[in-house]
Symmetry: C2
Subunit: 305 residues, 2 copies
């Protein structure tokens, strides 16, 4: 496949950057992939397993001469990385990122970048509960969405090149405005994660049943929650600190709705519960039809041995 | 495998009963399996696909001469089924059920049963978001827990036979007291389901993003929620109506905890968020070590095509 960029730098070498490098190679990418991680241990592992072509000891060294620089660090670290690499950026290069929130990233990164580079934020909606340089795999982005979130005035060609890059990694792409992105992601991702974290914490805290018991008998419902709640703590802390307005708004709606169901339980209003549960079931059907999940009767999941 | 019962009746022919019948056959069970469903359509489908050996037009007909009668109907229907079959039960027979709550089932069923039968409630902790006579599969209970919840005074031999029956279907078994069962299940299953239902409802209700968009971009977090929220509405209505005390107690703790995280977001307390998320991640590790889920990096899930 024709490479949209001759040299690519990945700053941060965790799950997302690792998967990007592996997916680039799977696609037959022949340019150079450089990489940098702040932690010496991570750099060492990345060198050992050959995660990228060249692991650099500074972000600036990795970004120098790159045609595409992708910031793959937690949202809270984006600004300082942008400041580190700003001086060495090649004129005409593109800077992108993989952060889960976009307004905050734009505010943190854009002021540091010179005028002769393109800034095209992106958000691949894919992940697992694992993190670190050994956690990546080439298939992570296959058939997942990568949202491209440019700001006004960005050259259309630069935007299209970033989209083509993500399609090369296996993703579907869609261009979206920044505020809309942050609200949508609060609904479909950020608040579900927060709730999962909360529920797992509550279960753990309940002293009349032992933690061992909770773990032992974790049924489908709870198991799915712990899966979500095992995601990278730094990444998620930064998501909530940086998408405050949208998450607080959705949380307000959530507790309102939850209280209504709680009252239905307390008063024994079976009809309300049944209607609510029937409605949510029909939403699920829509998701299966949209091809975003499998309909396999065992949840499509490998059985534990 | 030696059959613990010569004739088995399954009342209700949905996901659980269907999977039980298929698992019995897989185990080489040679006795007769009778079945009954209230809906004529369900009985017709069950006959057509040969789900059990003999589909009966009444619960009493199915239960007559059975050594084991398993009530596989929603919790709210258990009492009336028990009343229907009480007169025909064979002396020395065992009556069991598969309900997700146990105190309410005991109260509804026990008063109808004659003294010369054993009543051994059970709860297989397995399910999918599918329901109906076509949804069963023989592997549903493999390596899942089935909790056996006898009441005081039940003969130990009758309890052990029910446990052996479930092990024959592939499940692990544990004997537990009824109040403890209902609290534990509120934590690991009932409240997670309620929260998933709520979140899916909130997402759907949010008019600034379209339902189509929510479905299209449902990321891992939200997708897992919809999966849970697609479970059978009647079953879950009955669970909440019949495990009111425990679910309301856990809900109270949940909202308390959620409000603390909400305040941390509002005040920008990153340390609190990080600590909370790190703690829940360690709980997840415990669940993987306990063998209740897979550690595969792609969530162990078949990728959508």
């Amino acid at each position: 496949m024709a490479a949209p960029y001759e040299r690519i730098a990945l700053i941060g070498l965790g799950l997302i950057a690792g998967s990007m490098s592996l997916a680039l190679r799977r696609a037959g990418y022949e340019g150079e992939i450089t990489g940098h991680a702040r932690s010496a241990e991570t750099r060492e592992i990345a060198r050992e397993i050959g995660l990228v072509d060249r692991v650099c000891d500074s972000a600036a060294e990795a970004a120098r001469d790159a045609d595409l620089v992708v910031l793959c660090v937690p949202v809270g670290a984006m600004g300082s990385v942008a400041r580190e690499i700003a001086a060495v950026l090649k004129p005409g290069a593109t800077v992108s990122d993989v952060g889960s929130v976009k307004a905050a990233v734009f505010e943190a990164v854009a002021p540091h970048l010179p005028e002769n580079v393109h800034f095209v934020p992106a958000h691949p909606m894919a992940g697992t509960e694992h993190s670190g340089p050994r956690s990546g795999f080439a298939e992570l982005f296959d058939n997942r969405w990568c949202l491209i979130v440019p700001t006004e005035g960005t050259e259309a060609q630069a935007v299209e090149r970033v989209a083509a890059f993500w399609r090369m990694l296996g993703a579907n792409t869609e261009v979206m405005e920044v505020e809309h992105h942050d609200l949508l992601c609060a609904i479909v991702s950020h608040i579900p994660h927060l709730i999962a974290y909360t529920m797992v914490g509550v279960a753990d805290d309940f002293r009349r049943v032992s933690e061992q018991e909770v773990i032992k008998f974790s049924a489908a419902g709870f198991r799915d929650f712990t899966r979500i709640a095992a995601s990278d703590p730094t990444m998620w802390r930064d998501v909530f600190l940086n998408n405050k307005e949208a998450t607080l708004e959705i949380l307000g709606r959530f507790t309102e709705e939850l209280f209504a169901l709680q009252r239905a339980i307390r008063t024994g209003d079976g009809e309300q519960l049944f209607d609510y549960f029937s409605h949510t079931r029909s939403i699920r059907r829509g998701i299966i039809e949209a091809g975003q999940d499998t309909d396999a009767p065992d949840f499509g999941r490998v059985k534990p041995k």
